[in-house]
Each structure stands twice: as structure tokens, then as C-alpha cells.
């Protein structure tokens, strides 16, 4: 119960600071719009339909947006040394990780929903598939992206290379997640039955749970001096 309360307190604090500064989520959403806009002009839709390519574009955009946002996960903690005080409080390390990942999840999920909407608009997709099925795929996918982004966001901050290290760390780890996410979303866009989607969805949940579990376990080692 205490852990859940700590997670909630940290996530709420991060989101409150995030929505007041507005910088990170606004930048992620702006990237999403720009990517959808450019894709819509660069692809010849007489050769390929929007429904067939939307899932790849959706996951590519969400992946890049989440990585660009992940680099700033710890900005508020480092602004005036607040992280030192957070670590010195009785809060468990895994609660800190989960609280920050939860706040990240809200940002990534917002971007995913926004991108889905933008793609259907820019590619004039009249029937993008059931919203519930999109949610069933995007939820584990965004949980995985948020957990990995939080974990690698701290690693990149602690390295001399800073945020430039983030793509090199995250891309290899996130390739399977994005692959299964794009596969599942593609089938949703094409109105395939759940039986064809459920296998990828289960794998997405496995990756999401794995990223959350590994991040929670290893976070304490990243924060030890």
C-alpha cells in the first residue's frame, strides 16, 4: 500500500511539473504532427493505402517521440538537485522508478492516441479498426516504451554522452516490442479477427512486464553511489 502511494505521489508530482512547463509533451506532440504531415505527403497513396502502412508509421512515430521525451524524464530532478533529496527519503527505489515510469506512460500514451488520430486524419482512413483493439495493443506497447525510456533515460543522464546515447541504448532493446506492436496494429487497421492479433498482444504484454520488472530491479543499482 505504501509503495502504491509513493508511486502515485511521484507520478502526480512529475505530471504536475510537466503540464506546467509543457515543454516535453508539447515537443513530443509536435514531432508526431510533423511526422504524420511529412509521411502523408511523401507516400504515394495511389500505390499504397493508408490502412496498410499506418501501423508502421504509428509505431515509428511513437518510438521516436518517446525516446526524445525519455531524455528529459529527469530534468526536474536535476534542475536544483532534487533527485538527491528524493533518494534520501524513505521511498523505495522501485517506487521511484515506477512513479517516474507512470508519469512517462501518460506522456507516451497521449502521444500514441494523438498519433493514431493524426494518422487517420492525414491518411483519410475511414475505418481504422476497433478502438478497443487499438487500445489493447497500444497499452502494453506504451508501458514497455515508458519503462525502457525511464530506465535508459537515467543511464544516459549519468553518462558523459548524455542524451545522444539514448537512441543507441534503446533501439536494440525496443526493436522486438515495436515489431510485435506494428504487426498487431496492422492487423487491427485491416479489421482482422482478434485470434490473429492475440498472439502479438500477449508478446507485447510479456515485453511490457519484462521492462517494468527489470527496470524496477536494476534502478537501485543505477542510483547507488
Amino acid at each position: 500500500m505504501t509503495s502504491l502511494r509513493w508511486i502515485w505521489l511521484i507520478a502526480r508530482k512529475d505530471l504536475r511539473a510537466e503540464f506546467r512547463s509543457g515543454g516535453r509533451i508539447a515537443a513530443m506532440l509536435a514531432f508526431s504532427v510533423l511526422a504524420c504531415f511529412l509521411f502523408s505527403f511523401s507516400l504515394d497513396r495511389t500505390l499504397v493505402s493508408g490502412r496498410e502502412i499506418a501501423s508502421g508509421l504509428l509505431w515509428l512515430t511513437v518510438l521516436f517521440a518517446s525516446i526524445s521525451g525519455a531524455g528529459r524524464t529527469f530534468d526536474s530532478e536535476e534542475e536544483d538537485g532534487a533527485f538527491r533529496h528524493l533518494l534520501l527519503s524513505p521511498v523505495s527505489r522501485h517506487s521511484i522508478f515506477l512513479g517516474k515510469a507512470a508519469a512517462n506512460l501518460v506522456a507516451v500514451a497521449l502521444v500514441a492516441v494523438f498519433t493514431l488520430f493524426a494518422l487517420t486524419l492525414f491518411f483519410a482512413i475511414a475505418s481504422p479498426g476497433p478502438v478497443v483493439l487499438h487500445a489493447a495493443i497500444l497499452l502494453p506497447g506504451t508501458i514497455g516504451l515508458a519503462a525502457a525510456g525511464t530506465f535508459f533515460g537515467l543511464i544516459s543522464r549519468q553518462s558523459n554522452l548524455g542524451d545522444s546515447l539514448l537512441p543507441a541504448l534503446t533501439f536494440p532493446v525496443l526493436v522486438p516490442l515495436v515489431f510485435f506492436g506494428a504487426t498487431a496494429s496492422s492487423r487491427v487497421f485491416l479489421d482482422r479477427p482478434w485470434a490473429e492479433i492475440s498472439g502479438s498482444a500477449r508478446l507485447l504484454w510479456a515485453f511490457a512486464i519484462g521492462f517494468v520488472a527489470v527496470g524496477s530491479l536494476l534502478f537501485r543499482y543505477l542510483t547507488e553511489e
Binding site: A17, G81, H85, L88
Partner: protein, 235 residues
């Protein structure tokens, strides 16, 4: 209340920041740790508070070994450093409520209001931390550190960046916190301020303790000589 360091060793790569430091401080006292830059003051404070795991040696509180991995120990510790540790986008009250809730302080709103009043910052409650002056932020940082009434208060260069009146106010507040159940450990290279507050003085040089004496036994001039002599030696 007692706090002791037993043969603490901390290294950063090949550099020994602390090299077998022993010290002991009892309740109702303020320990001032002096030393030039790179002497190991902040590392000592981090090792004592549990922020840094020592490579060897141990920290003992009330006869029991303590480590930073123990949440109960972290709950007994308060910290004020030269970086205030406030969340800039949050208001002063939101900052205090956040930390009060993390420490499971009973009645967090009342505790935050009381802590704010104690540092003379009641009118700042609704102001975002980013809008405060350096001195105001430091006062709020002290309020945040005192919210959970810690047994041991660590201060890492707390006077850094404060104007004389702000530093005087901070010194007065620290002096008022003396009690047999509480210890204050102050790390600074502001000799005048530190000596004005301290009951006990430790001087570090290149990770080693070169002086450990009661304040009454310390001549400021001799301490200054030890302090600056090292700086000249390194130059």
C-alpha cells in the same frame, strides 16, 4: 543520540576521497567539518547520511550499524545542501507537501504550514520555487529538511550563495534546533560561520582527519593556518 564513523574509506577510481576517517558526535551538538576543496567533506557527509556506500568501514548510530539501504535510517536523516533540491515548477507548499507525504508525516498540510512558519516563509506558500530568490529557496529547503523532524540534520555548504542576513537567519535556526536527541553535522569551508555554530570541529585534508577537537579548544587562527597551509601545499 550518538553518531559515529568507524574507519570510513571511500574512493572515486584511484582517488581516495576518505582514507580511514573515524569520528564520533553526541546529541545536543553541532559538528562542523572543515577542509579545502577536495578534502573529502562532502563524501564524508554522503557516507554518514547513507547516500554513498563506503568502500570500507561503517557508520554507527546509537550503537547500531546503519546504511543508506535502510529506509528507516533515511527517514531519520534531513539534508540541506547548496543546491536546494526544490522542484522549480511546483509551489513552495506543493514541494513541502510532496516531501511530507514521502516521509509519511502525520497531517502533512499542518506540518508543512508549521515548517514554513518556522523559517518565516508563510507568505511564500503559493509561490513557485522558480520565482524565489536564492535566500528564500534556502529557507524553504531548510523547512523541507525539518518537516519530518529528523534526528540528524546534515548541511552541505548551506551558507553558499546566501547574503549575510540570510546566513545569520539560517545560523539562528540551526542553533535553535539543539537537543539531546538531535545531531547537526555541518560541512563548510566558511570558517567563521562554522566556528560560530560548532561544538566540535573536524578538519579534513586529502581524505584524512587532521584535527578533531572541541570548539573551545580550537583557535581560529591555528585552524586557519591548518586550513590554508594545505591549500598552499597543494598549489
Amino acid at each position: 543520540m550518538t553518531l559515529a564513523a568507524r574507519n570510513l574509506v571511500c574512493s572515486y577510481g584511484p582517488t581516495r576521497a576518505l582514507d580511514g576517517v573515524d569520528l564520533e558526535v553526541a546529541g545536543d551538538s553541532i559538528l562542523a567539518v572543515f577542509g579545502p576543496n577536495g578534502a573529502g567533506k562532502t563524501t564524508l557527509l554522503k557516507a554518514l547520511s547513507g547516500e554513498r556506500k563506503p568502500d570500507a568501514g561503517r557508520v554507527v548510530a546509537d550503537g547500531k550499524a546503519v546504511t543508506g539501504s535502510d529506509p528507516a535510517w533515511r527517514g531519520r536523516v534531513g539534508l540541506v545542501s547548496h543546491r536546494t533540491g526544490l522542484y522549480m515548477k511546483l509551489t513552495v507548499m506543493e514541494n513541502l507537501l510532496f516531501f511530507a507525504s514521502l516521509h509519511a508525516v502525520a497531517g502533512p498540510a499542518d506540518a508543512a504550514s508549521a515548517a514554513l512558519a518556522a523559517v518565516g516563509g508563510r507568505e511564500l506558500a503559493g509561490t513557485r520555487a522558480e520565482a524565489l530568490s536564492r535566500g528564500q529557496r534556502q529557507r524553504i529547503a531548510l523547512a523541507r529538511a525539518l518537516l519530518h523532524d529528523p534526528d540528524i540534520l546534515f548541511l552541505d555548504e548551506p551558507f553558499s550563495g546566501l547574503d549575510p542576513s540570510g546566513a545569520d537567519a539560517l545560523a539562528t535556526m540551526l542553533g535553535a534546533r539543539r537537543s539531546p536527541e538531535r545531531i547537526i553535522v555541518l560541512v563548510t569551508h566558511d570558517l567563521r560561520r562554522g566556528l560560530g555554530l560548532a561544538d566540535r570541529v573536524v578538519l579534513l585534508r586529502r581524505g584524512r582527519k587532521v584535527l578533531d577537537a572541541a570548539r573551545a579548544e580550537c583557535e581560529p587562527e591555528a585552524l586557519l593556518e591548518l586550513f590554508t597551509g594545505d591549500a598552499r601545499g597543494r598549489a
